[in-house]
């Protein structure tokens, strides 16, 4: 592939640099870039609030009494729920203040735990979101993050408990990377099929998801089952030498993995925007035809892109096993696969954006757990809000119409291809 690049003619109008200059041009000012996602989030939360009020029997009872008390009950329901969302994800300010005043270390840790727990939740999101974003940049739609994550987690778990007697400095990275390799393999299958036969990765990655679920189900109840679990699909606990350390005493779960995730976000940014290889990949993603004329090998990029994307998804599984769960069970994922698509798109497929949106959704999901306890709102409301935010981010015209924003001079370019890829 390197040779291909060197052979390309100089000053070709379709040269990757030229193609991408357009994109760089309307980097625009910071506000215009961030206003759409921000307004989308606000609108999503507003619609979530309406959903909370509209599905609350108490509100209907109150409306039966009088219109005014209905409105009042609706607002109090929303307030209680969103307050629980806030204290569950950021922390209770009063409690934090008291803890700091008392000066007890453990009390402080536990008071800021909601915030730290949000970061714990955000960690796999960062990896999964990066996986999808990288795919999009290469013109690939990876809906298979969930399956890649399961395979990655299974690999990491296996290396985690089956390999014994290694020092931490070797064992932990080994198990971590094993997860990445597992995910990479799972992603590569879809990339290979797309490059060689033109089969669309959307369907194939979804099929691979289901195959991965069944496969891990079989692994966990068969070859990888915990001795004495009585047929429960759960793996043995990983060796201590494979664990990613948590910083604070239990119940605070905040762990080194968050910083590993940030490091990976930086690495992906560097690869995508600072290396020739990343440039080629983005060129293939924006304009495969031009990339072909420029002498880039689209098929190779597709395969590598899909494998890399899968590797990141696999690492999301690794990190969750090695740092938090410490053994693998079937309920590993709370739907990271679809969530990650929203994360990538809301983050504009940029690693920094992905980190920010991951922290946002980690926070939301963490707070939603508390909201479920306090006001019996199913945690799946997060998915609904996510879908709505995603819709607004994908169709900025709706947000602009809602908030009377002016249209930017140049419409954003969609990054990836449409159709079933048969005509490639």
């Amino acid at each position: 592939m390197d040779q291909d690049i060197q052979n390309k003619p100089e000053k070709n109008p379709d040269q990757p640099e030229e193609v991408l200059k357009d994109q760089e041009k309307h980097k625009g000012n910071f506000w215009s870039k961030i206003s759409i996602p921000l307004l989308a989030i606000v609108t999503g939360l507003l619609i979530g609030a309406i959903l909370i009020a509209a599905t609350s029997p108490a509100v209907y009872d109150a409306f039966g009494e009088s219109f005014w008390s209905g409105i009042k009950t609706a607002f109090s329901e929303i307030f209680i729920s969103y307050k629980a969302l806030f204290t569950g994800s950021i922390g209770d300010p009063v409690r934090i203040f008291n803890a700091i005043a008392s000066g007890e270390k453990q009390a402080i840790y536990e008071a800021i735990n909601p915030f730290l727990e949000s970061l714990v939740q955000a960690t796999p999101y960062i990896f999964a979101g990066l996986a999808v974003a990288l795919g999009f940049r290469a013109g690939l739609f990876n809906i298979g993050v969930e399956g890649q994550l399961f395979i990655g987690a299974a690999c990491a778990t296996f290396v985690g408990y089956a390999v014994k007697g290694l020092p931490w400095i070797i064992h932990m990275p080994l198990a971590f990377i094993a997860g990445g390799l597992g995910g990479a393999l799972w992603g590569f299958i879809a990339g290979f099929l797309k490059a060689k036969t033109g089969a669309h990765e959307v369907i194939n990655t979804i099929m691979l998801n289901w195959i991965a679920f069944r496969l891990t189900e079989w692994l966990l109840s068969g070859p990888m089952t915990r001795p004495g679990s009585g047929g429960m699909p759960i793996s043995p606990i990983i060796e201590e030498s494979a664990q990613i350390p948590q910083f604070f005493p239990s119940p605070v779960r905040f762990h080194l993995g968050f910083f590993i995730a940030l490091a990976f976000a930086w690495l992906i940014w560097w690869i995508l925007f600072k290396t020739k290889w990343g440039l080629n990949m983005r060129t293939v993603g924006t304009n495969p035809r031009a990339a072909k004329y420029a002498g880039l090998n689209v098929n190779t990029t597709t395969m590598i892109g899909m494998a890399l994307s899968g590797a990141l998804a696999g690492l999301a599984g690794s990190i969750q096993i090695l740092a938090v769960n410490r053994s693998m069970a079937l309920g590993l994922s709370s739907g990271y696969g679809f969530d990650s698509i929203a994360l990538a798109l809301i983050g504009n497929n940029h690693p920094l954006g992905v980190v920010l949106s991951s922290i946002l959704f980690g926070t939301l999901r963490n707070g939603a757990t508390r909201m479920m306890v306090v006001s019996k709102i199913p945690i799946d409301i997060v998915s609904v809000i996510q879908a709505i935010i995603l819709m607004f981010v994908a169709a900025p015209a709706i947000i602009r119409a809602l908030y009377r924003l002016r249209k930017p001079k140049q419409e954003e370019t969609t990054v990836f291809v449409s159709g079933w890829g048969g005509g490639q």
């Binding site: 099929l193 099929m207 799946d380 409301i381 159709g419």
Partner: protein
């Protein structure tokens, strides 16, 4: 393709024939349980001889394919070989035992219903140039709403209408997002899939699980068709079954005729192939596409209703289990044609049925691997056929009227 057929025949010879004891018979029970009209006796086949015959048939097909080729019939012949392989596999697995083949076929047809309807739903919209990967989400939402409304009214028909209404509403969102706002159709579909997964889980946990009375819809009963139900083998499987099976065939005929023999169908397809030309000829591209997506929603609604009103009788989270996506694969395998989609749907349904039946039979293959079969087959089919198929030329392209 000839290579695949050759491999199938080799598989039959080298694995199945070799491991079957010479004098063993396979018994196929030819009457599904609980049916008393149109019954016949069991089929008792010598396992080994049957397998040899199947192998030879595949071999002949593969040789013909390699030398002359079947042209337009290629997909069909590969499908036939796959069927022979499945039949051989069953003969092999059930040797020295008995297997209710008719019962299996009945459940295969039922399992094929959502897949085939999903494929129909997809092809209606894609023939007009709008990719619809939201079928899964529409089906999921429809099955939930169908269960909910069916339970409240205790009327399966009202439930069905509710299901269709829900799916059409989602289809409308898909249409507005992808036609009016021209956002990438795959993303628009994903929005709907995420939304449906979240919303159905939300409502299910908030209402259906806390109040079981809201999740007990009446089922559509089995309706024997007079006369036809008495035909042996075919009768019990196709004509003494669920209303949804008849609906599936009705949709097949309607679609086949409407798409390929009416002016409406010609216009519809023109919009999918070359919207600009169609526009020049005075066809309203935008309206045609809206109609297509909404019709696609109706069919997806019926498919979704099948889960809760036609087969399971209650809603569970994620009840559709990827059937909508398999339906899309069936559409591609079926070359965006109703008849082909039905064939592919039946094949996938069959693969599904085998998995559940064989685990009952005490097969040594773990149940999880059997459950992978439909997904694996989908991937193989996609890999083998996508380049050959004729996707509508403007599939996935938003239309910009200058």
């Amino acid at each position: 393709m000839g290579i695949i057929e050759l491999l199938i025949s080799l598989l039959i010879f080298l694995v199945f024939v070799r491991t079957v004891a010479p004098d063993v018979v396979t018994t196929f029970v030819m009457t599904p349980g609980g049916i008393d009209i149109g019954t016949i006796g069991d089929w008792i086949l010598p396992s080994r001889l049957t397998l040899i015959i199947l192998g030879v048939l595949c071999l002949l097909i593969s040789i013909f394919q390699l030398i002359k080729g079947f042209g337009r019939g290629t997909n069909g012949m590969v499908g036939l070989c796959a069927l022979l392989l499945i039949f051989g596999f069953l003969t092999w697995q059930a040797s020295d035992r008995s297997l209710n083949l008719a019962g299996m076929l009945t459940s295969a047809v039922l399992l094929a219903v959502p897949i085939t309807l999903g494929a129909f739903s997809g092809l209606i919209s894609e023939r007009a140039g709008v990719i619809n990967i939201a079928i899964e989400g529409m089906m999921l939402m429809a099955s939930m709403v169908g269960a909910l409304i069916g339970s409240i009214t205790q009327n399966a028909w009202v439930g069905l209408l509710g299901a269709i209404g829900a799916a059409v509403l989602l289809a409308l969102i898909h249409a507005v997002l992808s036609i009016k706002y021209k956002i990438n159709q795959v993303i628009s579909g994903t929005v709907i899939n995420i939304f449906s997964a979240g919303m159905t889980a939300f409502i299910s946990q908030k209402f259906l699980q806390t109040n079981q009375a809201l999740n007990r819809p009446p089922l559509f009963p089995r309706v024997p068709i007079p006369g036809l139900a008495h035909i042996p083998v075919v009768g019990p499987i196709l004509f003494n079954t669920n209303m949804f099976v008849y609906l599936m065939f009705a949709f097949l005929i309607i679609l086949q005729v409407a798409l390929f023999s009416t002016r409406w169908g010609l216009r519809h397809r023109a919009v999918g192939e070359h919207p600009k030309a169609a526009d020049t000829l005075g066809i309203n591209v935008i309206r045609t596409r809206y109609t297509a997506v909404l019709l696609s929603g109706i069919v997806a609604g019926v498919a979704g209703a099948f889960f809760t009103l036609g087969s399971v009788g209650r809603f569970d989270e994620g009840i559709t289990a990827g059937k909508g996506f398999i339906g899309l694969a069936a559409m591609i395998f079926g070359n965006w044609n109703p008849i082909g989609s039905l064939g592919a749907g039946l094949l996938f349904g069959f693969a599904d049925a085998i998995g559940s039946k064989l685990s009952l039979l005490g097969s040594k293959i773990p149940a999880q691997f059997m459950a992978m079969a439909p997904y694996l087959i989908t991937m193989i089919v996609l890999a083998g056929f996508i380049g050959r198929g004729q996707a509508p030329a403007a599939d996935g392209e938003p239309y910009d009227k200058e």
